[in-house]
């Protein structure tokens, strides 16, 4: 397999150099480097247990990690998760991490914790993307359907005004139509200039959205390529597209 270097901007939005993480003696993520350019949508593919979620958690310091992370050229390696959110790196976790005993409105308002002066403006922006959330405003988050919960998780993250939105398996457990709708929204967000780093099991859908793809296996990135090049890699195309 051929690794393709695809630096698309002088200073990447996010750049990780030799980032690694361990759970006790298990090296879940071996030294790995990646980058996301400004306004780029990048997806990370790989089998279960390959280290995708660990990579996302290591990048956002939800898991202790080694190596360096740069955001727009600034070294943010030592910043905590909440400080990274202040910088504009916001993650939607696998399983959504909603506050299930709060209403939709309360979840969104907490999402705007960092920007308390702009809550109403951002709420309207979220409702434009997800009109269904407006209909469910006073409903407890835990009582929403899976698709609505994912909309809320993304909407809540948008309330934090992300410059880089990181999503871990947003289509997990969703019907194909709903998953497609959610991923379509990500494309729209990307069009608006938000950088997106996406871990996704539904590879064909993800590859339709992304400009670049990293393939991770056994805790290490093994392939980096532009999505339009994947057809030329027959083994990858067979595994992820068909």
């Amino acid at each position: 397999m051929t690794a393709v270097s695809a630096a698309t901007a002088d200073v990447p939005l996010l750049e990780a150099k030799d980032i690694s993480a361990s759970y006790g003696h298990v090296h879940a993520l071996k030294p790995t480097s990646l980058h996301v350019a400004e306004g780029e949508l990048v997806t990370i593919l790989g089998p279960n247990g390959a280290g995708k979620t660990t990579l996302m958690r290591a990048l956002t310091r939800l898991t202790p990690s080694r190596g360096n992370v740069f955001f727009r050229g600034r070294d943010v390696s030592r910043l905590s998760t909440n400080r990274l959110a202040r910088c504009g790196i916001v993650m939607v976790q696998e399983g959504r991490g909603l506050f299930s005993q709060m209403t939709v409105r309360e979840n969104l308002v907490v999402g705007g914790y960092l920007h308390p002066g702009d809550i109403d403006t951002h709420l309207q922006a979220v409702f434009e993307l997800f009109p269904r959330l407006k209909e469910r405003l006073d409903q407890l988050a835990g009582t929403l359907s899976g698709g609505e919960q994912q909309m809320l998780a993304i909407g809540r993250a948008l309330m934090a005004k992300p410059q880089l939105l990181m999503l871990d398996e947003p289509s997990l457990g969703l019907a194909p139509r709903v998953a497609s709708e959610i991923l379509g929204t990500l494309r729209e967000l990307n069009r608006r200039g938000i950088g997106i780093l996406l871990v996704e099991q539904k590879a064909p859908l993800a590859l339709k959205l992304a400009q670049r793809v990293y393939v991770i296996s056994l805790g290490r990135i093994v392939v980096e390529l532009k999505t339009d090049e994947i057809e030329s890699h027959h083994d990858l195309a067979r595994y992820y597209l068909h």
Binding site: S80, F99, Q101, M102, T103, E106, V110, Y113, D138
Partner: protein, 328 residues
């Protein structure tokens, strides 16, 4: 620790629903003022506990953390007031404020390393804090007079004005309890309160949204300590005597019963629970040897049918009235 906070359950508007609990408190207080000193004393203890539990609710209800050691801060308040007033001639109100400040500093110093722990580990660490404070009140006799306790603590007052009668002190305690609940309610509805609720909901999600959970947990712990200290101090001034067992493990157990019975995570639940748990044994006194059994049976009955506490029932009622929303 799993949060039992009912984070989205109470009305945020200041309407008749907000006035209702205040009216209920006024009725209870009026009943106390028209009754004997014995009743006033029981109700006075109830409202002192209401202050203690309102603070504990900050940490356990709003923030979803566990603390078995708040009695330590009540002890600081109680013994601080006793020592400052009887040995050094301080004004009671100034002593109350000073001991609150001391408790706040102690909570910050102790909480900084302790709050790195979670769940059962945090519970055990805070329990140890309560036990250490208890041992100090027993063993450091030159300061606390050990089992002999501290007597002759003056009633609340400032600048020569003293709340001489039990009923005057009772009114002051009720007013302070209402102020305590009012402050808690305002904080809960603020950005700070929403941050605490997010920690109770999911620490990871809260961090990912920019909430500095370590700082907020510490602030919630300090606030709970301030309330506990005020309660401990008020107890000392109200009774005029304190001894170690007052601030022992039974205080923690009692306050947990009040918190869960009234409704953890709700604004008025701690006060409601404090009044019921304090008054119920007295109301059942006529049952003599069956008193404890009846008391326990009623508590169990309430918790079975109102698992989120009595204040939580208003939530269920409101939800039942809300039109059902379909799913997508």
């Amino acid at each position: 620790m799993t949060s039992h906070a009912i984070t989205s359950t109470e009305p945020t508007s200041v309407g008749w629903r907000s006035a209702l609990p205040i009216a209920a408190v006024a009725v209870v207080a009026a009943y106390g003022l028209m009754s004997s000193d014995y009743v006033v004393t029981v109700l006075g203890f109830a409202f002192i506990y209401a202050i203690f539990c309102t603070g504990l609710n900050f940490f356990m209800g709003y923030t979803g953390q566990a603390s078995f050691g708040q009695s330590a801060f009540a002890a600081i308040g109680g013994y601080g007031s006793a020592i400052l007033c009887t040995d050094y001639g301080w004004e009671p109100l100034l002593a109350l404020i000073a001991t609150m400040a001391i408790s706040g500093v102690v909570a910050a110093v102790v909480g900084y390393p302790t709050l790195r722990l979670r769940g059962h580990y945090l519970a055990m660490a805070t329990f140890a804090l309560g036990l250490i404070a208890y041992e100090i009140t027993i063993e450091w006799t030159s300061l606390t007079q050990g089992y002999m306790g501290y007597a002759g603590i003056p009633p609340l007052g400032l600048g020569g004005f003293e709340l001489a009668t039990l009923k005057q002190q009772f009114i002051a305690i009720v007013v302070m309890a209402l102020i305590g609940v009012g402050v808690a309610s305002r904080l809960r509805q603020s950005r700070f309160g929403r941050a605490l609720a997010s920690i109770a909901g999911s620490e990871l999600a809260a961090r990912a949204l920019g909430v500095d959970i370590a700082r907020y947990k510490l602030v919630a712990f300090v606030i709970a300590a301030l309330y506990a200290s005020a309660a401990g101090s008020l107890f000392a001034h109200f009774v005029g005597f304190i001894s170690p067992e007052i601030y022992g493990t039974s205080m923690v157990i009692q306050s947990f019963a009040m918190l869960y019975l009234g409704g953890i995570g709700t604004t008025w639940g701690p006060m409601l629970g404090a009044v019921i748990v304090s008054v119920l044994p007295e109301a059942l006194r006529g049952l003599k040897e069956m008193q404890d059994i009846a008391y326990t049976a009623i508590l169990i009955f309430i918790l079975i049918f109102a698992p989120r506490g009595l204040a939580g029932l208003t939530v269920l009622f409101r939800r039942a009235r809300r039109p059902a929303l379909g799913k997508a």
